[in-house]
């Protein structure tokens, strides 16, 4: 049974504009989940690497604040309203209401199904801030859907490249039992194949203290009886992976969802002016800037980029500008969207949670046109055939 209520409609308005200027105003609407399970206090406290630790509004607000000068100089403005939606139906209704109210862009930090409901309900460009699901870039891709956050495939490609650069080519895979784990394990396999690594064994794991299930739950038993260079753990929940390093039978590194992870951002990244961005964010949001916060911040940056590229609008001009206006993500280059699946091209940071160990694409890797396209589904794979 689906509820049909738009939870706390228009919770707050964020604004980045000089009140005095009679400028064209780009209206954007952010749709967030109501009672976001990712942001339950106990989950946020655990702060698993790669998991959200706060709402997308934080990153967006930082971007809109820092865009004030640029918008003012261009004579344009951006306003953002925020809506919470408990179900895909509510998200659809919220998107339609936003379109009716004159929004130029919709931003989402929703589940995959709710994201699709939003895109299909309106004719506006939609910026996906928080969902890494590959199907939004592949079988369920849409021409008007843009992704600020890296896909699962980009994450696993970045890890696979890093393993190649270290010559750690034999892998033991440990995979959780949730449907999401199964999907992400298949993605990891695709990356492993793409970069010529080898899986020596794949084993399911389970969180359990039951002695009858110790073969599934005990890291020593799970990792015995095979020769491998690294353990790749797929654990969307995070509890098992967190303590896996240092608990396996061989002295080998752990990668995936524990040990070394590939993320869009880490607050300890030192290059390309990144510390200033992390500092501005921490000052405003009172917490370290994560992968998800960077993606939300980039959503705000994209709004500013199109508002300054086309200061007079109208909505149609902004929609067209989105696909072709590069955005500065403080990761060393101007970032652009892939024409085939709307994914924002970007480098990935390899981190153990304490600092940034390295970046992907790894040095020396070649690509015929754009080395960033070695991360994620590339054009010749033709995995996205958009419906609209």
């Amino acid at each position: 049974m689906r509820q049909r209520h738009v939870g706390s409609l228009v919770a707050l308005m964020l604004c980045a504009a000089a009140a005095s200027t009679a400028a064209a105003t780009l209206k954007a609407t952010l749709i967030l989940p109501a009672d976001d399970p990712r942001l339950e206090r106990t989950r946020v406290e655990r702060a698993y690497l790669g998991h959200a630790t706060g709402p997308a509004t934080d990153g967006l607000q930082v971007a809109l604040d820092e865009g004030k000068f640029e918008l003012e100089a261009a004579g344009s403005a951006v306003t953002l309203s925020v809506v919470n939606a408990a179900t895909p139906d509510a998200a659809r209704a919220a998107a339609q209401a936003a379109e009716k109210a004159g929004a130029a862009v919709v931003l989402t930090d929703l589940s995959t199904d709710a994201t699709l409901a939003v895109v299909d309900a309106v004719k506006l460009p939609v910026l996906n801030l928080g969902d890494s699901a590959d199907r939004l870039r592949q079988q369920d891709c849409r021409a008007r859907l843009f992704h600020m956050i890296p896909s699962e495939r980009m994450r696993s490609d970045a890890l696979a490249q890093t393993l190649v650069s270290r010559k750690w080519s034999k892998l033991l895979m440990l995979v959780g039992s949730s449907p999401q784990d199964q999907l992400r394990a298949a993605t990891a396999q695709a990356s492993i194949k793409r970069y010529g690594l080898q899986v020596v064994a794949t084993k399911p794991f389970k969180l359990s203290a039951d002695p009858r299930e110790r073969d599934l739950a005990n890291p020593l038993l799970l990792t015995a009886g095979a020769a491998y260079d690294a353990v790749w753990v797929v654990d969307s929940d995070g509890e098992f992976a967190r303590s896996l390093p240092y608990r396996i039978v061989l002295p080998r590194p752990v990668v995936g969802d524990g040990g070394l992870l590939a993320l869009a951002w880490h607050a300890q990244f030192e290059r390309y002016g990144a510390p200033q961005v992390s500092r501005r964010f921490a000052k405003a949001a009172k917490r370290p800037m994560t992968d998800h916060d960077w993606a939300a911040w980039m959503g705000g940056k994209a709004l500013i980029a199109i508002a300054t590229a086309e200061p007079k609008g109208p909505n149609s001009a902004w929609a067209q500008a989105l696909a072709k206006t590069p955005v500065d993500g403080s990761k060393g280059g101007a970032l652009s969207f892939r024409s085939w699946d709307g994914q924002l091209r970007q480098s990935m940071l390899l981190t153990d949670g304490q600092g940034v160990i390295s970046q992907a694409p790894i040095e020396g890797l070649l690509h015929p046109t754009e080395v960033l396209d070695t991360l994620g589904a590339d054009a010749p794979e033709k995995l996205c055939k958009p419906k609209s």
Binding site: E70, G273, Q276, E370
Partner: protein
């Protein structure tokens, strides 16, 4: 005439290195972000002859009108003033929070500083260190350049992709000039008519006419075999006669020699990783290029447009000044 002289110097350098070297006396001082020290390179031997301790995370480094070394230290919120004669610090000047780059008024009395975290440009009294003015600018202000008459100040904002034109007398922004993506450093032509601005993520140099404060041209920087996203120009320097500009191309690991009149790149010189800032010796015979990611300085023979030597310096080197 001048060019003839430099080319002759270049030949001499190539043929009898020792003799040519013996005639150049002086020191290059290199700031580095992770040492809290300046590295001294002997100009005669092109070897490191020692270090000078300084404040924390030294970045932009310049000579004051009275020939003292001034280095802005981001983590000390101050500039260190060092006497090159003794190698000792004379004094520290507070520069406000997180100073990155600065410039000095023609009379040497005022310092203009970009405070990257506060997104401000500050005017500081060089003698007392007192903050005289602070002006809100776009996020991550970087390059700071004052006009030769001291009346106009230019500050770049990396995030807003703007050059702020500031009237020094009133301490007010008079114009925001939109340039390329992530503008970093600036150089003025000696006649003061053109302001050249490097755009790190635009792979270009924007040229602003100072009479109108509008962009009159954009020079696209290209390196054969390198993609545009790998060409990230930062440091820029004009030759004294204003005929040539030197642009460090960052990730492209090259320095471009650009003919100012035709606005065309004439030479590209391969240097170290992430070529960042540059300085010329007095004779303008040798260009010192600071390579941020290979922890070294490449010395380039200007006449021959060839690298002569790479010299290991501190960790994450940033800027260089030459005292002869």
């Amino acid at each position: 005439m001048n060019r003839k002289l430099t080319s002759r110097l270049g030949v001499a350098l190539g043929l009898i290195t020792l003799c040519a070297a013996a005639s150049t006396q002086g020191t290059a001082y290199v700031s580095s972000e992770k040492d809290d020290a300046l590295t001294m390179i002997d100009l005669a031997t092109l070897t490191v002859k020692g270090t000078v301790p300084t404040c924390k995370r030294g970045r932009h480094i310049q000579l004051t009108p009275d020939r003292k070394i001034m280095v802005a230290c981001t983590d000390s919120n101050a500039a260190d003033v060092i006497d090159p004669a003794t190698g000792k610090s004379l004094r520290r000047v507070p520069l406000g929070d997180e100073p990155e780059a600065f410039d000095i008024s023609p009379d040497g009395k005022t310092l203009y500083v970009s405070n990257e975290d506060a997104a401000e440009a500050s005017f500081i009294d060089a003698a007392s260190g007192k903050k005289l003015q602070s002006i809100k600018v776009g996020q991550e202000p970087e390059g700071v350049k004052v006009s030769a008459d001291g009346k106009t100040l230019y500050v770049t904002s990396e995030v807003a992709s703007l050059v702020h034109v500031i009237d020094v007398a009133t301490a007010k922004i008079t114009k925001n000039v939109k340039v390329g993506k992530r503008p970093r450093r600036m150089a003025l032509t000696p006649d003061g008519k053109e302001l050249w601005v490097t755009n790190e993520l635009g792979a270009s140099v924007s040229i602003i006419a100072t009479a109108t404060h509008t962009v009159i041209d954009t020079i696209k920087l290209e390196v054969k075999g390198a993609r545009a996203q790998d060409i990230t120009p930062v440091g820029i320097l004009m030759a004294r006669d204003g005929k040539r500009a030197f642009v460090a191309l960052g990730k492209a690991n090259h320095v471009a020699f650009v003919d100012v009149a035709s606005r065309k790149t004439t030479n590209l010189v391969l240097v170290g990783k992430r070529a960042w800032n540059v300085a010329l010796d007095k004779a303008e015979a040798r260009l010192f290029v600071v390579n941020g990611l290979s922890d070294d300085v490449t010395v380039v023979d200007v006449a021959g447009a060839k690298p002569i030597k790479s010299i290991p310096v501190g960790r994450v080197p940033y800027g260089v000044v030459i005292v002869e």
